[in-house]
Amino acid sequence: MSEITLTHVTYYQNHKALFDNLNLQLNKKKITCLIGPNGSGKSTLLKLIAGLLQASLGEITLEAKSISAYSRKDFAKKLAYLPQQCVLPNLPLQEYVALGRFCHQTWFANLQEEDHNIIHQAIALTDLQSLMLQPVNTLSGGQQQRARLALILAQQSEYLLLDEPLTGLDLKQQIKMLNLLLYLQKHHQKTILMTLHDIHQAAEISDEVIFIKNGVILNHGKPEEVIHHEGLYDLFDYHFEINFPRNGYNNFGHRDCY
C-alpha cells in the first residue's frame, strides 16, 4: 500500500521545470533511498514532500490526505524532515532535543515525565548521553549530525525524510546510524525516505531504491532489480565496477545491535 503519493507534480526552479509531471508512490514501513547525481533534485523532492516548497502543479498526499490539508502540528506529528545542513543554536543538547517535542505540546503545558523519557531515549539511541548539557554549537561535526537526528527521533513521527544523514560521520558512526535506521523501521514501524551517496550502503539497507536524474525518475524498485551496471551508467554516465554480495541484500539487518 502506498502512503506517500505524488501525482502529476510539477515544480519550477529558475523559470525551468525541475520536476515535470512526476508520479511517485512510496510504501509504508519501508526504507527507500534516493540516489542520483548532484543537482538531480533529490533535496528538492524531499522538501516538496516535507511541505517546505510548494509544487506548482499536482498533488502530494500523505495517507490519502493532501499535505496542505494537514494542520502544521498534525503534519509534524506524522512527518519529520532532516535538512542537509543547518546552523545549530547555542542551546544545551537536552533543550535542543526537547524542541522536537514541540508538536506534541499544548500552549501552556510544560514537558511531562513522558516527554523527558522520550528525549532521553532519543539521546541514548544516538549515543550522546555524555554530552547532554553541552551547547550543540560547540559539538564536533559528527556529534552535531547525531544531535539533529536525536531531535527528529524525539519528534516520534512515523515518516522520516532524511537529506544526506550520513554527512560528517566516520565509518563506525555511519554503520551505527544505518543500524539505527533499520532498527527504527523494524521495531518502531517507521517509514524512511533518505538520500545516500554510497551505493553499497543503499543496496544493503534499503527495501526500495529510486534513481533520479535531472528531475526524472529513471528507475524505482528493489535494490537487486535496480542497481546494476546499465542502470548506474544511465544515472551517472560513468562505468562503475560494483561488487554486490552474492548472498542477497539486507545482511545489514541481521546484525541486531539494539
Binding site: 522538501k47 519529520a80 543547518c86 524542541l99 508538536c103 551547547p135
Partner: protein, 327 residues
C-alpha cells in the same frame, strides 16, 4: 533543578529586594526629605501630596524602564542580534515624534498617545528593516541605519520644538526621558499595559527558543515561524510603545538592561524577561532618584542619567561580550 535555575532564583530575589529598598528610599529622598515613619500617620496634606507624586513617579519609572528592557530583550532574541535596542534603532524616536506631532498640532489624549506610540515603535523597526533590505545578519549595517534614523528624527523633533507655538518645557521632558511631568492618567495606562503584556510575555516565552533554529528545522517540528515572529514583534512593539508613552526617549537602557540580565543568568527565555524587567526598572528608578537628589532643587532628567550611567555599563558589557565570557 539545574544550576542555572538556582542562579535565576537568587538573582530574582536580590533584584526584587533591591528594587523594594530603592523604592522606599526614593519616597523619602528628594528636594524635601521626608521621614516616612512619621508622615504615614500624620495628617500633613502637603506631605501626603508629595508622597503621592513620588509614588506615581516611581511606579512609572519601574514599569516603563522594565517594559523597555523586556521589549528590548524580545527584539534581541527575535533578531538574534544582541546589539539591537529600541533606543538605538530608532523605535523610540519614531514613537516620540508621532506623539509630539499629535500633541502639538492636534489633541492631547493619553490613550491616543499610547496607540501612536505602539504604531511608532513598530514603524521604526520596520523602517530600519526595510532600509537594511531585510538583512539583519549584518549587524554593523543594521545598527548604523538605525542610528541614522534615530539621530535624524531627534533633529526633526528639535526643529519642531524650536518653532513650537507653545512652551517647550513639556516636550523637553518627553525627549529626555524625564519623569517630572508624570500624570495620573498616564500612570494608569502604563500600569494596565504592564498587567496585560507581562503575563502574555511569560506565556509565549517558551517559543523564543525556536527563534535560534533554522527555518527548515522549525518547519519540521511544526512551528509556524512566521506567525511567531509577527506576534512576538507586535508584543515587543507594544511594550516599547507603552514605555515611550510614559517617559519618552530613554538612552541606553534597552541595550544595557537585557545584556546585564544575560550576564547574570545566560539566555533562557522565560527567566531572561523577568530579569530584564527587574534590571531595567531598577536602573531607571535609581537614575530618577539620583537625578532628583544630586543637585536639588534642580532636577536632572532621568533619561540623561541613564545615558551617563549606561555608557560605562555598556562598555563593560562589550568587554565581557568580546572576551567571549557570555553567550
Amino acid at each position: 533543578m539545574r544550576i542555572a535555575d538556582v542562579n535565576v532564583k537568587k538573582y530574582t530575589t536580590i533584584l526584587s529586594f533591591l528594587l523594594l529598598v530603592v523604592f522606599v528610599a526614593g519616597l523619602s529622598l528628594g528636594t524635601i526629605n521626608i521621614n516616612l515613619f512619621q508622615e504615614i500617620f500624620s495628617h500633613h496634606e502637603d506631605m501626603k501630596f508629595i508622597l503621592q507624586m513620588r509614588i506615581e513617579r516611581e511606579i512609572m519609572a519601574i514599569c516603563c524602564g522594565g517594559m523597555l528592557a523586556t521589549g528590548s530583550a524580545m527584539l534581541q532574541d527575535l533578531t538574534g542580534n544582541k546589539m539591537v535596542a529600541p533606543d538605538l534603532i530608532g523605535m523610540t524616536s519614531v514613537a516620540c515624534l508621532l506623539i509630539i506631532i499629535c500633541n502639538l498640532f492636534w489633541i492631547k489624549s493619553p490613550i491616543l498617545n499610547e496607540l501612536l506610540a505602539i504604531t511608532g515603535s513598530a514603524l521604526g523597526f520596520l523602517a530600519c528593516l526595510f532600509l537594511a533590505k531585510n538583512n539583519i545578519a549584518n549587524r554593523l549595517g543594521f545598527v548604523l541605519i538605525g542610528v541614522s534614523i534615530s539621530f535624524a528624527l531627534s533633529a526633526v523633533m528639535q526643529l519642531l520644538i524650536l518653532n513650537a507655538p507653545e512652551s517647550m518645557d513639556a516636550y523637553f521632558h518627553f525627549m529626555t526621558g524625564s519623569l517630572y511631568a508624570t500624570q495620573f492618567e498616564t500612570v494608569l495606562i502604563v500600569i494596565s499595559a504592564v498587567l496585560i503584556a507581562l503575563p502574555v510575555c511569560f506565556i509565549i516565552s517558551k517559543r523564543f527558543l525556536v527563534f535560534s533554529l533554522d527555518s527548515a528545522t522549525c518547519h519540521s517540528i511544526g512551528v509556524s515561524i512566521k506567525t511567531y515572529r509577527i506576534s512576538s514583534f507586535l508584543l515587543a512593539a507594544f511594550l516599547v510603545g507603552s514605555s515611550v508613552v510614559g517617559v519618552g526617549h530613554l538612552g541606553f537602557l534597552g541595550i544595557v538592561a537585557p545584556n546585564l540580565a544575560r550576564l547574570m543568568v545566560g539566555n533562557r527565555p522565560p527567566h531572561i524577561f523577568i530579569l530584564s524587567f527587574l534590571v531595567g526598572g531598577l536602573i531607571y528608578l535609581f537614575a530618577d532618584i539620583l537625578g532628583r537628589c544630586l543637585i536639588s532643587p534642580v532636577e536632572i532628567p532621568a533619561g540623561m542619567l541613564t545615558n551617563i550611567l549606561g555608557a560605562p555599563l555598556f562598555i563593560y558589557i562589550l568587554f565581557k561580550y568580546y572576551r567571549g565570557q557570555y553567550e
